[in-house]
Amino acid sequence: MLAGAGAALVAAPASARIRPGSMQPLIGPGYKPVDTDEKGLWAQMERVEEEVAGSNLLIKDPELNRYLQGLIGRVGGPAAKDMRIYLARVPEFNAMMFPTGFTVFFSGLLLRMRDEAQLAGVIAHEASHFLLKHQIRSWRDMKRKTNIFAALAMAAGVAGGATGTYTGDLVRLAELGTMLTLFRYSRQLEAESDALGLKLIADAGYSPISMSETWDQLITELEWSARERRKRVRRDFSLFSTHPAPRERLRDLDLSAREYAVAGKSYERGRERYLQALQPIRQTLFEDQVRLNDPGASQYIVETLAKDGWNGQLLFTRGEIHRLRNGQAHQQAAALNYAQAVTYPDAPADAWRWHGVMLMKQGREAEGRTALQRYLAMAPNAPDAPFVRQMIQS
């Protein structure tokens, strides 16, 4: 452990990749703070955790929470039994680790993961920040050299978790503003967490390449989102300013995965298990994303998930993306996607509703009525049933 600690604390040049095999956790099971400043930090964080634990924004589904906790148990290293995970309903691609060993995952991250291996990678990355005591190290660093740029970024509410993007409303509104400095890890610390995280998932039997895939998905989604609005990806995020350059980080993760994977060993992805665990909330997660009308990002998410096969839910979601866009061509594209979606057995009831509405608008009223009737049969208590009934009768 000491050797590992030494290795971790040596400041490597920004370009040097950290080898997963060289990383060791700095803490063991049941870790408690020793130094005065860390004890103080923990005392504050315990209050923060109380607030997070009581938040209205948490998704409380007990089975899903057990599942997430189970993943920490598998890839959390020596602190597997000490860490807690909270799932917040925020449609952002992010997660963050707090210094006392609890982590907050945003529901938008779960939506974007293709399988358990990808999710395990993010969990392991976050866990590594804790295992390597990054928060207290970064806190001390911050106090030593007050950084004007960090202060400015803080004021602007820019903070980064796993992915270094906007952290969403939870942090902002749980009045954690002053704590955000803790999550602005340096490039060095992010690279360390990538390396240890990769080692943790590979040792647990997950495909280590999943981590660079996740990172690629994050970068590409930002690019698609910006391209749709005809602009450049913003460079003033911690993602691009203090974190390892995105492409560089992707390359390092990819190289490390190939280097660390044991030849001939089969690693698992856990796709079926993941989809099953996510099933109760997946439709809601799609809705939360699509209804933000960020079509480039949403389109990328749908197409990424569709690499594992199109289905009624994905086609319906693609229809929703088009429906919220301006212009007649998109309305036609929406109608087409709904029509395709309802040919799949897993099409949600909402797909039938919108399929029906679009048919009625095209003047295909008899078919439209039939689709709306199908919708009501599937969702007799839908909140818009009174209006849909009128549409059928008129």
Binding site: L173, R229, R291, N293, R323
Partner: protein
């Protein structure tokens, strides 16, 4: 993915269709509000609709630069607690709010052929994009006539980033390809019940002027 505008609005923890950036001057010369007296007939938005207030309300001053001229907001207790919005004849291809042209997340434009479910979805997107709502639930969408035209009533609840549940009702109709709408939104506990009778009285009093 930074959404400066939606964050600025979130800072006031409420959704305002028109300018509420100036909120903070509590009365006096700098007040962003004008008094609406009980019984007074007011032409709202660009004047295409009039309503009669059953008691004194506060009409939010509008800005040429940030507001959409068909839209205006009123409040009884302040915009954190309740908000009443009027949309008077929003034309085809216009938005309910002014947004940055290149914002990642955008409220769709109104289209003249929109059905009630589409207008309801437009309202939901408005709350999610501009109001920072993290959970939005449609309670009911039902037929209702408004301004003597066949329209709809949308009841909804939403959870903001401030973790307060709010409840709202929108009553509207698309007439001659334009959107006419009244919408109330208030903290679910106490305030919604307080302002709803006023909203209903004003919806009944509403007259289309053009």
């Amino acid at each position: 993915m930074s959404r400066s505008k939606s964050l600025a609005i979130l800072a006031t923890l409420s959704l305002c269709l028109s300018a509420c950036s100036s909120v903070g001057g509590a009365g006096g010369l700098n007040s962003p509000y004008n008094l609406v007296r009980a019984g007074q007939v007011i032409n709202v938005g660009s004047g295409a609709m009039s309503v009669t207030a059953p008691r004194n309300w506060n009409r939010t001053e509008r800005s040429l630069f940030t507001d959409v001229r068909w839209v205006e907001d009123w409040t009884l207790n302040g915009p954190l607690l309740d908000q009443l919005s009027f949309v008077a004849g929003l034309p085809h291809d216009k938005r309910l709010v002014r947004q940055e042209h290149k914002a990642d997340r955008q409220v769709p434009k109104f289209r003249r052929d929109m059905t009630a479910p589409e207008v309801a979805a437009l309202i939901e997107t408005l709350y999610r994009v501009e109001g920072g709502s993290l959970d939005f639930r449609t309670v009911q969408l039902a037929p209702r006539s408004f301004l003597a035209a066949p329209g709809f009533q949308l009841d909804f609840e939403h959870l903001g980033g401030d973790e307060v549940w709010r409840r709202g009702r929108a009553v509207g109709a698309v007439i001659d390809g334009k959107l006419y709408l009244m919408m109330v939104d208030a903290a679910r506990s106490h305030y919604f019940a307080q302002v709803l009778p006023d909203f209903e009285a004003m919806a009944v009093s509403a007259v289309r002027r053009r």
